[in-house]
């Protein structure tokens, strides 16, 4: 009788160990999936968005500053683009990032460029992004088109095909948050 009880208890211990091990394995599995998913899915990778509010805002700059409204539909006016990029970033930011639920001008910055990269007003880009992770040093009126949101948590990429200098090219506005 005593021996029977001991054998029974041992079986019970093995069963409990099995359950514990399977629970641990399950958690491990869930952990691996959670850790690997963002890496393969590129969910943190910026994705291009078409038809964004940003381009409507750029077109609407003409309401207040007609000389800087370089974008009209799918066409870029070079003279107005020069005027736009000659403006101070702080002056323009409010117009470009207006009417958005996602980003506010106070906490977000933008970087604008054409792809393939072509210069306007002596530079390949216009915008401001911070050069340091603590956001103390800003590269005013210039940003890095190859990695505009290096020191930010999130990036939103807006693209629109436009006609510029006799060719269809792509206008990018990357908003960093």
């Amino acid at each position: 009788m005593f021996q029977y009880r001991r054998a029974h208890a041992r079986k019970g211990q093995i069963a409990s160990l099995d359950i514990i091990l399977s629970v641990v394995a399950l958690f491990l599995f869930i952990g691996i999936v959670i850790a690997i998913l963002p890496m393969i899915g590129g969910s943190t990778e910026p994705k291009e968005t078409y038809g964004g509010q940003v381009f409507i805002n750029i077109e609407n700059i003409g309401i207040d500053r007609p000389a800087s409204a370089f974008l009209a539909g799918y066409r870029v006016d070079e003279n107005k683009l020069d005027n736009f990029s000659n403006s101070s970033y702080d002056d323009i930011e409010g117009f470009v990032l207006a009417n958005s639920d996602i980003f506010a001008p106070e906490s977000s910055d933008f970087c604008m460029f054409f792809q393939p990269l072509s210069p306007f007003n002596g530079s390949s880009s216009f915008g401001r992004t911070y050069d340091s992770p603590d956001h103390t040093t800003a590269s005013k009126e210039r940003c890095n088109p190859s990695d505009p949101c290096q020191n930010y948590a999130q990036s939103f990429v807006y693209a629109r095909p436009v006609l510029r200098k006799g060719k269809i090219t792509k206008l990018y506005v990357v908003v960093c948050k």
């Binding site: 394995a25 899915g41 968005t49 078409y50 792809q115 095909p161 060719k167």
Partner: protein
């Protein structure tokens, strides 16, 4: 006896490890294809933008001088050099020009223009593909213009 049971334990553990690996790989494959699938809203916006830019780009925008066939795109330059009278009206847009080429039964020329202006110039994102389909009101048929079906 004990040694034998221990050995069997190894097999079970190995089984579990294999099962987990297979499960993880399967899940990653499914998740990967889900993430890379083009979104419907984005595709619609992109299609809208492409027709928009083709519909607002005039021949005179891409050709400085029609008489000397000075055009920024090789496909249009070739058409012009072949027969300058093909560009009858420089005021028409690229979309209208494609309509004219369709009427003149020059399907290959349409394909070349779409290829050069949209696909090869990276206006179309790399993970996307596109079709240009024309609805013929005369026959009620849909004609695929790009890519050309031979």
């Amino acid at each position: 006896m004990g040694k034998k049971r221990f050995k069997r334990g190894y097999f079970y553990t190995l089984d579990v490890v294999f099962a987990i690996i297979i499960l993880v790989i399967g899940l990653l494959l499914v998740a990967g294809s889900y993430f890379y699938a083009p979104q419907k809203v984005k595709s619609e916006a992109l299609a809208n933008d492409i027709t928009g830019v083709l519909g607002s780009t005039h021949i005179y925008d891409v050709c400085n001088d029609i008489d000397s066939c000075d055009c920024s795109y090789q496909s249009i330059r070739d058409l012009c050099n072949e027969n300058p009278s093909q560009i009858k009206n420089p005021d028409i847009t690229l979309l209208e020009f494609m309509g004219q080429l369709y009427h003149d039964n020059q399907r290959e020329a349409i394909q070349d223009i779409v290829n050069e202006t949209i696909v090869k110039s990276y206006v179309l994102p790399p993970n996307y593909d596109m079709q240009v389909v024309l609805f013929d009101p005369k026959t009620g048929d849909l004609e695929q213009l790009y890519p050309l079906v031979t």
